[in-house]
């Protein structure tokens, strides 16, 4: 049986790949523009769009079933030193897929990792987390407070 990614904590690479998958093309273009010259690389598998079948579980925890498909795009690049960069994300953005694969490759290089974490992954992760919190705070404003209704002789 495969490990359950929902309960396993993420490795550093899983974390940055997740941040890259959730970033927009604009985010990645801006990040790359700010980095200056990029290392040379070859596209091993050009960005390709396909589908992934999304599985659910009956009742949330029971028998697996297929909900329906989603579009996804993947890409593989190889840096000069042989390091392979991969990207996988929902959607059909091929340009984003290639940039994300390149960044995944660079993030594995000790020479580039620190700067990329500081200037790209860190800020994007923070931005994604804060957006998530904003959404949750708006939902929280609609939380029903029954307590005030029954206060008193309830």
């Amino acid at each position: 049986m495969t490990v359950n990614p929902h309960t396993e904590s993420k490795t550093p690479r899983q974390h940055w790949m997740s941040v890259l998958a959730r970033a927009s093309l604009k985010d990645l273009e801006q990040a790359i523009a700010s980095l200056g010259p990029m290392p040379a690389y070859d596209v091993m598998k050009p960005a390709e769009t396909g589908t992934i079948m999304l599985e659910g579980r009956a009742g949330g925890a029971g028998r697996r079933f297929n909900i329906g498909e989603a579009t996804m795009t993947r890409c593989v690049v190889r840096l000069k030193d042989g390091t392979m960069g991969f990207s996988y994300a929902l959607g059909r953005d091929k340009r984003k897929a290639q940039l994300a694969a390149l960044l995944d490759g660079m993030l594995q290089l000790p020479t580039h990792a620190a700067i990329l974490h500081n200037s790209v992954i860190g800020p994007l992760a923070e931005q994604q987390a804060s957006k998530k919190i904003d959404v949750s705070r708006k939902a929280a404003a609609t939380k029903v407070d029954f307590f005030t209704l029954v206060r008193g002789d309830g």
């Binding site: 589908t51 297929n66 329906g68 498909e69 579009t71």
Partner: protein, 369 residues
């Protein structure tokens, strides 16, 4: 039966041009962008993604634009596009317990861990027209923002009952088998739950809604409670073979409904509530609720209930809930049936001729007597 007919190419090309012009409408009115449809017609887009069985909000919006808002035609476009793409694999089963919740309500418990979160809903609106939407508003609407976010995770309501043993258990079968996939294999009966749930997930909302309503009105013996409805974002994990570890691909929006239904028991099982489950792409509560009611009614066989009504009969439900297939078969009647019809016409003329001949002979005989 219909036959291929040659001719009409020029007429067909002209109708393509005409429908394009019709679709555009009055050219003095600005054209809709796909992004506008995606952002402002999100509930329609969700329906198209569900019935088209493909999660992609941009494509759902494009399909609606191209189909002039015809949801079934749009779903058809999604299905057709899907067949042109390679399948990279299946996700790890999505974990709705880990959903980033935007709405979560229960009609069975007032106070529950995590609370009742109304989220974005029309439930408490007065259904009076807001004519302000017709005017150009200078200002953007602004939602209220609470100081703190919601709890990170909230227990699913049926699991609370399950902990007390009052709810039908829901656990994977031994070995956690790969689910049936109706896009690869034909449905066979009796159909297992994975087959039923996948079929309903892509089924027509209106059809499932009507059937669910029939159950409530007595054509099926269930008494459902909305144990929980939750809406929010769930991350999609995928394990590519070449890497061997899980990759988070981003989020999908899902609506999940857990119906709690009246009890059942057996020799070895004390009476307990039974479950109905619905899950849909996007914000699609009516769909998820209808699916959950029918999921329960289709358990008739396993609970030894007489399947007397349509909503309890899996062949009826599963063979007829797909609106792309249904529309295809109903609408194929528009295609030329000239030969068939000529055959019918000939037959009718022959019957009439024979009848007239018999009548004439009878009249002659009568006159002779």
């Amino acid at each position: 039966m219909y036959v291929a007919v040659k001719g009409g190419e020029a007429a067909i090309l002209a109708t393509h041009d005409l429908i394009a012009e019709e679709r555009r409408g009055d050219p003095s009115i600005p054209e809709l962008s796909v992004a506008q449809i995606r952002e402002q017609m999100a509930l329609s887009v969700a329906r198209v993604m569900n019935e088209g069985s493909l999660y992609d909000r941009d494509l759902g919006a494009l399909a609606l634009k191209q189909a002039q808002g015809d949801v079934i035609e749009a779903a058809f476009l999604m299905r057709a596009y899907r067949t042109t793409l390679p399948r990279f694999g299946s996700s790890v089963p999505l974990d709705t317990a880990a959903m980033a919740i935007r709405r979560r309500i229960s009609a069975t418990y007032k106070d529950l861990p995590g609370g009742q979160v109304l989220g974005p809903t029309y439930d408490y609106t007065h259904r009076l027209f807001d004519f302000a939407l017709m005017a150009d508003l200078g200002s953007e609407p602004e939602a209220q923002v609470a100081v703190s976010p919601l709890d990170n995770t909230m227990p699913r309501v049926p699991d609370i009952l399950g902990d007390e043993g009052l709810m039908e258990a829901e656990s994977p079968p031994a070995d956690d088998p790969r689910p049936f996939d109706l896009t690869r294999d034909p449905i066979e009966f009796p159909a297992d739950r994975d087959v039923r749930l996948q079929t309903m997930a892509r089924g027509d909302e209106g059809f499932l809604l009507g059937l669910a309503y029939s159950v409530q009105r007595g054509f099926g013996s269930n008494h459902p409670f909305a144990g929980e409805i939750r809406l929010g974002e769930v991350s999609v994990d995928f394990i590519p073979e070449e890497l061997g570890f899980a990759i988070d691909l981003g989020d999908v929006t899902l609506t999940e409904c857990q119906m709690v239904n009246q009890f059942q028991g057996g020799k070895d099982i004390p009476p307990q509530f039974t479950r109905g489950y619905g899950l849909a792409f996007g914000h699609s509560e009516r769909k998820a609720m209808s699916m959950a009611i029918i999921d329960r009614s289709l358990k008739a066989r396993s609970f030894g209930e007489a399947a007397e009504y349509p909503a309890q009969q899996e062949e009826f439900v599963l063979y007829h809930c797909d609106n792309v297939e249904a529309a295809g078969f109903v609408e194929h009647l528009k295609l030329p049936h000239y030969v068939d019809f000529q055959g019918e016409l000939e037959l009718l003329r022959k019957i009439r001729r024979e009848q007239e001949e018999r009548a004439a002979q009878a009249a002659q005989l009568e006159a002779a007597e």
